[in-house]
Structure formats: structure tokens, C-alpha cells
């Protein structure tokens, strides 16, 4: 799992908005904060020393509050925004050095994008929208029709090809957006808050659709969201952004169990941990000896284990992965994992009041 190829790699990326970013960059590298930069020099620090490796075939989720620089970051991957400093390596090559022709080829053939506000062409039919990437490459309608229809069917919009976008609901429009990205047959998909404009139920549907497609297609997906539940559901690799800088990145379960920063603790405080945490991240890595109450899958959620144990505290389970025992899990461990680790600051406070 860990030795997957790195598809896209972001190195020391900085973006400063303003009149004279180059000189502001020196101050930022010297340690000037976003707020101070805005106050003293009237420049906005968009991204501050970003380093991320995006692995092939994984969903990398970038999460952060509004204004944290998520959209700015994802737009650097296909150079809709030019950085102030840094590198963006796609399969080892720095695309910032590429000319317009090469960049256009990359955008047409290897990177597609799904937008928060769908951004479909309102004067084109659903079919023409889905085939937009191929049409842009110069294919005639007859040539892209088959491919576009295939993906429209796949996202559940078979038969809608002749409609116009405004005749569809928001959820359906975003399905067209996804079909458009899939029809381009690119291996990298950039999704900027692709589901944020949809209501919760539709949103869950779309997340399931995406996971289902991903099981089959193994695209390299960069997904942006401000919603932690969504991030935890989709992410293979989670990057948390605040004020233009990365606060923590890694496997979502690890971040949840071991938040690096009060900012992230706040973030994860309200999450339903039983439903998100998996057995494999809590278990003891030695198979049990002697009596057990049953077997659970290593990818099962804690919630399902608690249900299996019928709430009894003295239960012990053998953890199975592809038919092999890989560990043990006991109910007390599960209970401990359900309570967020107290931050050191809070712990001190409570000991103070106790004394």
C-alpha cells in the first residue's frame, strides 16, 4: 500500500497575491505571518511552503476552512494560477517550466476538473458538455458521442443527453460534471468542493458514486472539501490546511487518533468517532491467544464492533484481514479510542483546578 508511485508532487510552493509578490516572499520566508503581511504590506499570503506527495490511484483530500487556500492550491496543479515560488512535479517533471502547448495537452489529456458550481456550458446539451474535453481536442460529435454516453450512463444519467443543464437538478448537473471529467479519460481528477453545493442526502449518494467509480478506475483524485465527515469518508491521504499552510497530513485515522495541533483537535472534536475509526487503527497487532467472542474485519468500524459485542465490556475479538488473523481488539481499547485525546493545555488546566 505504501509503495505506490507518486503521481504529482508539490514542492515548497508559495503563492502571494498582491502588487509585488517577489519581495513579499522574502518577508514570508523570513517568518512574517499572514495577518502581518496583510497589515504591513497589503499582500495576501495564499499558500505558504506547501509540500504534498499525491500518490497514484489514491484519493488525496485537502481540507480546511473557508479562505484557507484550498482552491488556490488545487488550481496550481493545472496552472490556472501561477505560483510565486516552488515546483509542481507531474510524474517527475516540473510543469511550471512547460510552455502553453504542453500545458494545454496536459489539461486536455491528463488532468480533468470538477467544479463546486458545476461550471457546465449552459448553451450546450448534456451530451455536448460530457464530451467537452474530447470536442476540445478536435473530435467530431459522432466520434465522442459513444464515449460521452457511456459515462453519462455510468453516472446514472442515461437518456438525459439531449437536455440542457438548466433542465437538471443540482445533483444531476454535478453528475454531468463528473461524466465530463471521466469522458476526458485523464488519470488525474481535480475536484474543488465538488459536492459542497448539494444537499446532504444527494451528497452522500455522490460520495458513494465516487467511491464506487474509484474502486473500478483507480484514478488519482485530488478532492477538496471543508467537511470533515466527507474528508474522512473519501480520503486515503488527508491534508489539513490552515491560513495557507499545512498543519498536518497523513492517513486520516492517524490524524484522528493523534491530532498534531489544537486547530485539528477542534476540527475532530465533533466527529462521530465510532463510525469513522476502524478496527485496524485501534487494534493490538498480535493475534489473540485463547478464548475470543468472535471475529471482525480489520476495516470494520468501531460502531459495528460495539454492536457485535452488544455493549458488553468483557468481549474480545480476533481481527481478520483477507482470512488471516492480524490482531486483537478488546472493548476497553475501543472505549478509550472513542474519547478524543485531551490536549496537553487542557490537561494542565484540569490538574491545576484539582490542586
Amino acid at each position: 500500500m505504501t509503495d505506490k508511485n507518486i503521481k504529482v508532487s508539490i514542492r515548497h510552493l508559495y503563492k502571494i497575491f498582491g502588487e509585488d509578490p517577489a519581495s513579499a516572499l522574502k518577508d514570508v520566508k523570513g517568518g512574517l505571518s499572514k495577518a502581518d503581511l496583510l497589515e504591513t504590506r497589503n499582500h495576501v499570503l495564499g499558500l505558504n511552503d506547501i509540500n504534498v506527495d499525491i500518490k497514484e490511484g489514491e484519493i488525496t483530500v485537502i481540507m480546511g476552512l473557508s479562505g484557507s487556500g484550498k482552491s488556490t492550491l488545487i488550481r496550481h496543479l493545472n496552472r490556472l494560477i501561477e505560483p510565486t515560488a516552488g515546483e509542481v512535479l507531474v510524474e517527475g517533471e516540473d510543469i511550471l517550466k512547460w510552455n502553453t502547448r504542453r500545458m494545454r495537452k496536459l489539461r486536455r489529456e491528463s488532468m480533468s476538473m470538477v467544479f463546486q458550481k458545476f461550471a457546465l456550458l449552459p448553451h450546450r446539451t448534456v451530451l455536448e458538455n460530457a464530451g467537452m474535453a474530447l470536442a476540445t481536442r478536435g473530435r467530431k460529435r459522432a466520434e465522442y458521442e459513444g464515449e460521452a454516453n457511456k459515462w453519462l450512463d455510468r453516472v446514472g444519467l442515461g437518456g438525459y443527453g439531449g437536455q440542457y443543464p438548466h433542465q437538471l437538478s443540482g445533483g444531476q448537473q454535478q453528475r454531468v460534471g463528473i461524466a465530463r471529467a471521466l469522458t476526458s479519460n485523464s488519470d488525474i481528477m481535480l475536484m474543488d468542493e465538488a459536492f459542497s453545493a448539494l444537499d446532504p442526502l444527494i451528497r452522500t449518494d455522490m460520495q458513494d458514486l465516487l467511491l464506487e467509480l474509484q474502486d473500478e478506475l483507480h484514478k488519482t483524485i485530488v478532492f477538496i472539501t471543508h467537511d470533515l465527515d466527507e474528508a474522512l469518508k473519501l480520503a486515503d491521504h488527508l491534508v489539513i490546511l490552515n491560513n495557507g499552510a499545512i498543519v498536518q497530513q497523513g492517513e486520516p485515522q492517524k490524524i484522528l487518533l493523534d491530532p498534531a495541533d489544537p486547530y485539528i483537535e477542534d476540527f475532530v472534536a465533533d466527529i462521530n468517532r465510532a463510525r469513522v475509526l476502524r478496527v485496524r487503527s485501534v487494534m493490538e497487532k498480535t493475534p489473540p491467544e485463547g478464548e475470543v467472542s468472535g471475529e471482525v474485519d480489520h476495516d470494520a468500524t468501531l460502531e459495528s464492533v460495539i454492536a457485535d459485542a452488544q455493549g458488553q465490556m468483557d468481549r474480545r475479538f480476533r481481527v481478520m484481514r483477507r482470512g488471516r488473523a492480524v490482531g486483537t481488539i478488546e472493548m476497553p481499547e475501543i472505549m478509550r479510542a472513542l474519547v478524543p485525546a485531551k490536549s496537553s493545555a487542557e490537561a494542565e488546566e484540569s490538574s491545576d483546578t484539582a490542586a
Binding site: 489539461r107 486536455r108 467544479f115 461550471a119 456550458l121 440542457y164
Partner: protein, 344 residues
């Protein structure tokens, strides 16, 4: 002696003043003063502004205002031949188009012309109601024997509006693509829009002979081109940023973006510009009848000049009717475009 004599005397310029032209032509004021013989009685109340004429009285070397206007005229006449060499061939197709269009629209028998016009109306509006309205209006005009005049007016409007779109849309596109271009063009548009049409008719009359149709053609185009340029620029700039971003993200070239996304999405605004351009052409055609543009305007002019109230009123009514018809037809065409992309 003149009021400002003292000034030149104290400055020691007397010699320079009297140097050349003692026999210069007198101004009207001089003549009057001579005949009435009240030269030295300028009271304080009549103290003149130091204008060219007043200064000339005191100092012969300073030109009169009359010299200024004559100089301008002479300069313009001298330039004219040079200008004509360039502008004449450039604008010749306009004369040609206007003549042909006038010929076709007035010489084709009415029983062919009217159905053709109505078919055209149907083609752009797809609404039988509007076709009926236009048919009624044209029938009324023909009934009071204004058919020929109306056709002349329409012919000029068609040609001029067509050229406005032909030139105006590309200018608007260029403006939308470059802020610098926009900064240059907008003051010119402002000027064209605020100048009273009579003001730029004057140089045009000197440049071209009054017998040439392009004289009024140019006047109409200059006046009517403004809205289509402005609204093309605005329309393209107003296209949804997200959609443009999507076009970029999927690797469209500038031209693919322009013709595949920006122009189609700006079309409602461009059509609104075309509507206004047509309406302004109509307004200007009437004024341009003073410089020999044929059509209903001639009758209005006759009404004013000869105080033929009835003639002027009927022609004015004809113009109103044409205006309503043109407005309805272009608005209906606009609504049709809007309906086909009513996503926003």
C-alpha cells in the same frame, strides 16, 4: 483709437504692430465706428474683453477671429484632398451598398417585397403575432402612399446596422480582451455618443460631396455603432467566470473559448446592442435627411421648412410606426435567444 493701444505702446511693441499690414481689411466694428464717428467715447461700461478682434484694433499684427475660422477652413480644404485619397476608396463600398439596397428595395414590386420582409420577420422572431403586427404597419404606410419612403428609410437602416454589427462586434471583442484597448476606445465611444450629430455632419459635408450616399451612411454608422460595441464588450466581460475557468481547465485555446463559450454566452447582450443600434440608426436617418438621405425624413424636413403641417405629421407617424416595428422584431429575436439559454 482702440482700447488696448496703451498696452502695446508701454510694451514697446508699436513698431512690430504697425510693421506689416496697415491696409488690412477692417472689421465690422471699425466700419460702424467710422460711420458713426464715435471712436473715442468708449465708456468704462463697454470695456471690451481682450479678444482677438479687440487686440487687432490696437495692433495690426495680431490676427482677427475671422482669420482663425478662415485658416481652419483653408487648412481643412488643404487636408481634404489628401484625406480623400485614403477615405474615399475605403468608404466607396458603403456608397455602393446603399445605392444597391435602395434600388432593390424601392424597385422590387410591393407584392414581392412585402412577403419577403414578412418572411424575414418570421425567420428572426418565429412569432406570428409579430409578423401580423408588422404586416399591419406596413399596410397602413402603403395605404397612405408612404410605402416608397418607408422602404428607402428601411434600406438605409439595414445597410448601416449591418455595417455597425460587422465593425462593432469585433471592436467590442478586442476591448473585452484587453483593458488597454478598452481604455482607448471608451472615450471615443463617449465622444460619439455626446457629440450632437450636427457637429460631425459639418466636416463630413466638406469631405464628401452631398450627392454621395456614403455621406449620410457614415453619419448614421458613427452615431449608431456605439451600443453594439459597448454591449459586446460588456457581454463578454460578464460571462460567468466559473465557466471560463472550466474552459481553461479543459485546455481550450483562446479561439475555442471565444467562439465556443464567450460569444454564445454574450449573445443576449450583443443582441440588446443590435436592437439599440437599429433604433439609433432610425433616429439618425431622419436627421441625415438634411444631408440628402432619402426616406421619411425628407417629408418631415419638408413639413418643417414649408410649414406643411399635415405632411410632417404623417411622415412622423410613419417613423413612429417603423420604430415600433423594428423594436418589436429585434426584441422578439432577443427573447428567443434568451429563452434558449435561460440558465442564469
Amino acid at each position: 483709437m482702440a482700447t488696448y493701444d496703451g498696452v502695446f505702446d508701454t510694451l514697446g511693441l508699436r513698431n512690430w504692430c504697425d510693421g506689416g499690414s496697415s491696409g488690412a481689411p477692417m472689421s465690422m466694428a471699425d466700419l460702424l465706428a467710422q460711420t458713426s464717428g464715435t471712436e473715442n467715447t468708449t465708456s468704462f461700461w463697454d470695456f471690451p474683453f481682450p479678444s482677438l478682434d479687440a487686440l487687432h484694433d490696437a495692433c495690426g499684427a495680431i490676427p482677427q477671429t475671422r482669420d482663425l475660422t478662415q485658416g481652419l477652413e483653408a487648412g481643412f480644404l488643404a487636408l481634404r484632398d489628401g484625406l480623400r485619397v485614403v477615405v474615399d476608396p475605403l468608404t466607396q463600398p458603403l456608397s455602393w451598398m446603399l445605392r444597391e439596397m435602395l434600388y432593390v428595395m424601392t424597385q422590387t414590386p410591393w407584392f414581392i417585397m412585402l412577403p419577403v420582409l414578412l418572411l424575414l420577420v418570421y425567420a428572426v422572431t418565429r412569432a406570428w403575432k409579430i409578423v401580423g403586427l408588422v404586416a399591419l404597419f406596413l399596410a397602413i404606410l402603403a395605404f397612405v402612399d408612404h410605402y416608397g419612403y418607408a422602404m428607402e428609410t428601411l434600406a438605409i437602416i439595414f445597410v448601416c446596422a449591418f455595417i455597425c454589427v460587422l465593425i462593432g462586434v469585433p471592436i467590442g471583442i478586442l476591448m473585452s480582451r484587453s483593458d488597454r484597448m478598452q481604455r482607448i476606445v471608451i472615450p471615443i465611444l463617449d465622444m460619439l455618443q455626446t457629440l450632437p450629430p450636427f457637429v460631425y455632419l459639418i466636416p463630413l459635408i466638406f469631405l464628401f460631396s452631398v450627392t454621395e450616399p456614403k455621406l449620410y451612411g457614415i453619419a448614421v454608422i458613427l452615431y449608431a455603432i456605439v451600443p453594439v460595441v459597448r454591449l459586446t464588450d460588456l457581454g463578454i466581460r460578464l460571462v460567468d467566470k466559473d465557466v471560463i475557468e472550466a474552459a481553461d481547465a479543459f485546455g481550450m485555446t483562446r479561439n475555442q473559448k471565444l467562439f465556443g463559450v464567450q460569444i454564445p454566452l454574450a449573445l443576449p447582450n450583443i443582441m440588446a446592442g443590435v436592437n439599440q443600434t437599429i433604433m439609433m440608426s432610425l433616429a439618425m436617418v431622419v436627421i441625415a435627411s438634411m444631408v440628402s438621405a432619402p426616406g421619411l425624413g425628407i417629408l418631415v424636413l419638408r413639413g418643417i421648412r414649408n410649414l406643411e403641417l399635415g405632411v410632417g405629421l404623417v411622415a412622423g407617424f410613419g417613423i413612429v410606426v417603423l420604430a415600433i416595428a423594428l423594436d418589436r422584431v429585434t426584441k422578439a429575436a432577443l427573447a428567443r435567444i434568451d429563452a434558449s439559454q435561460s440558465s442564469r
